[in-house]
Homo-oligomer: 454 residues x 2
Amino acid sequence: MRSLDSLFKPKSIALVGAAHTQEKLGGVILKNLLSFRGDIYPVNPKYTELMGLKAYLSVKEIPKPVDLCIIMRPAPEVPEIIEELKGRVRFAIVMSSGFAETGEVALQEDVKRIAKETGIRILGPNCMGIYNPHEKLDTFFLPHERLKRPKKGNVAIVSQSGAILSCVLGAVRAANTGVSKVAGYGNAIDINESDIYEYLSDDRKTDVIVSYIESVSDGRRFIEKARILSEKKSLLILKSGKGPSGQAAAFSHTGRLAGRYEVFHSLLRQFGIMEVMDFDELMDATKALSYYLSMPPLSKGGIRGGGNRVCIITNGGGSGVLAADECMRQGLEVPQLTDVQRERIGRLFPHFYGINNPVDLTAQVKDEDYALALNEFKDDYDGFLMIALPNVYGITEGLGKIMNGAVKELRKPVVFNVAEGGISKKISDLLEKSKIPVYTSPERAVRGLKALLG
Amino acid sequence: MRSLDSLFKPKSIALVGAAHTQEKLGGVILKNLLSFRGDIYPVNPKYTELMGLKAYLSVKEIPKPVDLCIIMRPAPEVPEIIEELKGRVRFAIVMSSGFAETGEVALQEDVKRIAKETGIRILGPNCMGIYNPHEKLDTFFLPHERLKRPKKGNVAIVSQSGAILSCVLGAVRAANTGVSKVAGYGNAIDINESDIYEYLSDDRKTDVIVSYIESVSDGRRFIEKARILSEKKSLLILKSGKGPSGQAAAFSHTGRLAGRYEVFHSLLRQFGIMEVMDFDELMDATKALSYYLSMPPLSKGGIRGGGNRVCIITNGGGSGVLAADECMRQGLEVPQLTDVQRERIGRLFPHFYGINNPVDLTAQVKDEDYALALNEFKDDYDGFLMIALPNVYGITEGLGKIMNGAVKELRKPVVFNVAEGGISKKISDLLEKSKIPVYTSPERAVRGLKALLG
């Protein structure tokens, strides 16, 4: 199989359906392509120039072969356009909708047949295309002012749905992390999730893969590629279309049958492939994994090493209880302190602190208490859940620096829940600069930690 | 039983343990009390004046009887302080910790016995006290600059834990809604959740009650009061201490046994009392209920009317599928369109829109499409879930105004999911001004809607 390099790292791009204004999707795409450093060939028979670039009557007029052609024209025109591409391009992204997802199955089959005949590999149709910040490549029809792109980072996004792709992009950015490669593959008549998994298993820039799936056409190949990818990287799968309503919705969305979810679910389980249940879980796990895996290799020892013993350190008793409940639901242990542990930590703190697991630092807390407790118990647990309610004066912005020092040599997963309000935004930003992921509720923090303890 | 009026609406307050500086919790409380419009009597033998108020040597020196005495002194001093209050105060809030939750069971029993003998009703110990914005009453030891209080509103908070109380306050504020009365009741040696439920069932300012519970001492009475309250208002219960770890944590937090969760859970179910499973669910439901119940009575017809048929209107196919999946998990129906419905709505929109349920307005969406679809189907469904990905130019800030008009006469629950990024904050704020709750993920929006459809 041909590598997907020319799709993710093309040297030249043609855009059929380029427009002069961002009021048209073809104009938004052209605008987004302007930062690309390779050759760009806008195609539109009505113009000789578009956004400062020479425009071409048709793809036949382009003087050189191009790596990638993006097609944003009404669906019925697409088969002919692809015929014209024969011998001229290696990959085509069909952005246009109006195929199987709207009942136009025959039209989609036409495109599929022609693509096979011409040897052109197709992403889509009805898809979002590619974003690769390392190549300044952005084929989306979403304007930057409406969807700011995340910075470069270690998260790859592989999404059948453009909507979810854009939501994940927004959430990755909000999580203060970044992306390596992003692909929206839509109706997947040719290139599908399995092909992209295969490509990403050797991608050194990617540590975490977020994969949103509505349907899979070749289940056996999917499981094989997902299994291989999971051995090398952290693959997170969100499968939608779980029940009849969702399946019907998925069908009318990409024109493919979602299949029986129970089968899918148990296969993932059987092969140890991580599955999340909803969008928030997906993003909570992504954040934890992205942060943890971006730390120096020294720190990677702990991840999914088999241990699941959690120490909870909190300044709010109730938040600690909610966290302990969620640990139970997630299959993580919160073992009671032994007498020896109790004595050890009791020596560090005033008698009115809650000397247990959760350790309750109470409203009398000071920043350094978190580091003291963490340090005392660093060898006794597999992961640490810290809860800071920054509504008392004892918690300050200094917490970020103190935790930075405390986790540096730790080699074990640490996540924070910082409750909303007051200085929490500042503290959270400082913690996240030290690669400690922060969540707004105890339960979401536990779900983040769960992704690291596996 | 004496009404809790003097607790929630005292005319005069003494503070034993008042301090001159906010470095001490007794100073933070005094500072927060300064906005109270009744009489305030700070008690501290070391001062003649505190924060501009005359200070008293002891409660015996206070010239008049007072409604409420707040005690913030070390636990061992509390029994004697309460003895001194005899005949002088009606209610006391014991803020201090260091009782059963740290193993000092005998000390707590002492306080309980003395309270009975003196006839003084006690809130606490180990509690947060009262916030009543209508009376400018704020007994919390949390400074305003660290925890901004929400505005006046229709949500009451009843929390055993001060931590969760403060987290709910922060989340209520973030949700652009407000509170009526707030009580943190801690170890509950006297006044407990049942007493406060009884008081709130007749409170005209309260529509929604958020109740965080770790343990209940009189299960029969709790169920009775919760049932009565649930018939008059929307009561949401979050019970923690669900498993062994959580129960142990809860015990060391308030010194009371959490009891078997399964029994608690099935009793709530049996009596139709709403229970949520975690902090995020609690806040998602609170937001939906608070918004919906604050609209003119005209609109209250729909709530929990028995119907559970949902129409999903989206401009992102994948988000619609995730929403449909979550509806299924929550027991809400997303019925397919009938041929007649399909024809009706097909007349309104271009052929490439997804004419189904979810209605998919695609990336070609315009603001007014949401109102068009909602209006066409307003009689066909019980609730509406709108999804807006504001990453295309067709969605603008005008959406807020259009939706305001569309929901005005609707009488049915409408919630929005607006994906993060770009102009989503502005759109969300405008929608929430029109009392339409907005959520950042499709699944959370469904959980909000679920609270309204019951």
